[in-house]
């Protein structure tokens, strides 16, 4: 517990985390607002097929905040990117303070999880408000189960970023992969046309938790990216499996290697 509190205070003393929180709170609302503005006419005319997606698209595409959070939680331990410090890594200090590496990892992952959950709730609040502000009476009702799915999606995404950074010890690769993949031109958009296996990629599977309405879940999909392929629960489990495997792998590698190397 002490280690967990230490990780929380470490995270909140990083200026980058506050940027991550800001992006996490604002980005989904802005994306949802832009999306709502674009669809507004069609929605009022009653011809929009994307009405159930309103707001959720912001939550699905605006995860950059938690990606940065997950990456910084690890990379801040390794980076010595200052002209004054010669090459000191915080990791050495951290591992002397908390001698068990597994405890250290659990505490850190716990801190990332808690902040992600809180941040996703803030994001839901801002996103729902933004959607209401623009669509007014046309706003679709937000279902609790789908919102819970969005919280899971955000938390899993943060943990994916966390695990990838732990493996690579460098923030660039996970940031690049995850930011590009959180965009509208994500790799799964491309790959689903090539193979159905793309639906089991973590981001696409995670989308199942909240992007689609429950009604469409069991209709045989045309294979379009914008239709449900798995049930929300299966989607969530698939994404969770990715997270679990990645974190286990990262934990094994992390326990084995030397701190400085």
């Amino acid at each position: 517990m002490r280690a967990f509190q230490a990780e929380l205070s470490k995270l909140f003393s990083l200026p980058g985390i506050w940027l991550a929180v800001l992006i996490g709170a604002v980005a989904p609302a802005v994306i949802a607002a832009l999306d709502a503005i674009a669809e507004k006419e069609a929605i009022i005319a009653g011809v929009s097929t994307r009405l159930p997606e309103m707001g959720y698209s912001g939550l699905g595409l605006g995860v950059q905040g938690v990606i940065i959070l997950g990456v910084l939680a690890v990379s801040s331990e390794y980076v010595a990117e200052s002209s004054e410090t010669g090459g000191g890594q915080q990791m050495t200090t951290s591992l002397t303070a908390v001698s068990s590496r597994l405890h250290f990892l659990l505490a850190k992952a716990g801190a990332v999880t808690v902040i992600s959950i809180l941040l996703s709730m803030v994001a839901i609040l801002t996103t729902v408000s933004a959607t209401h502000l623009i669509l007014g009476e046309y706003t679709p009702a937000f279902e609790g189960s789908r919102l819970a799915g969005a919280v899971c999606y955000w938390t899993f995404t943060a943990l994916l970023a966390f695990g990838m950074t732990l493996l690579t010890r460098n923030g660039i690769i996970p940031l690049a992969v995850l930011i590009i993949n959180s965009s509208v031109v994500s790799f799964s958009v491309l790959l689903h046309k090539v193979t159905k296996l793309a639906f089991y990629l973590p981001d696409r599977a995670g989308f199942e938790m909240f992007m689609f309405t429950s009604g469409s879940a069991h209709t045989p999909g045309t294979g379009s990216l914008f239709e449900s392929y798995l049930t929300p629960l299966t989607g969530g489990l698939v994404m969770f499996a990715w997270v679990a495997v990645l974190l286990m792998l990262a934990a094994i590698v992390f326990r084995r290697r030397d701190v400085a190397a």
Binding site: A80, E84, T85, G86, G87, A260, A261
Partner: protein, 237 residues
Amino acid sequence: MLTINSLVKRRGSQQILSGISFEARPGRVTGFLGPNGAGKSSTLRILLGLDRATSGSALIQGKPYAELHHPLATVGAALDGSGAHPMRTGRAHLRWIARAAGLPRSRVEEVLELTGLSDAAGKRVRNYSLGMGKRLGMAAALLGDPDILILDEPVNGLDPEGIRWIRTFLRKRAESGHTVLLSSHLMGELAETVDDVVIIKQGTIVAAGTLQEVIGRHSSLEEAFFALTMEKAGDGV
């Protein structure tokens, strides 16, 4: 010859240096002393053209650093840390510096030999110990066989053998007419190496002169340092 003349440095509302002046002369080792945060590193960084002075000047043989024609043949500097990218090998680091200064590659091997890094030259800098990083910084400083050496905490992190090597090396440099300016807070070490002493505290010079002048009526350099830099230390000098 290094000339610091009424140097002032302000960062935001913070006054880091408030008009300091001193000289480091050829043929002598000048020790630059002060508690942490007194402005030692800032002075050295301005001298090397890394930071800009708010007013005043820091000149190397009468010129600002950026106007030197062959900077590495004039000044060799080793500040805190290795100053190398951790992913590069020690040898690759020295080679690009040599290339920038127009020095032959054989000179890289010479300084590696001189600083005892020949065996570690192929390793990436991130795997170096603190002492090895320090030696790499020294190797880079010596690459151009400069007239002037500016070293920040040169013995920090070195093993006893390395400390002794630095001491004799710096003495020899000074005796052959070179200028050496080094900052440190290791009093005992400094007292055995330096000819002149400059003591800085909160951005102002509190004492400057030969080692004997600064020690004055105190029993040692350490005593003199504390008398001069402690609050309510009375009228030391």
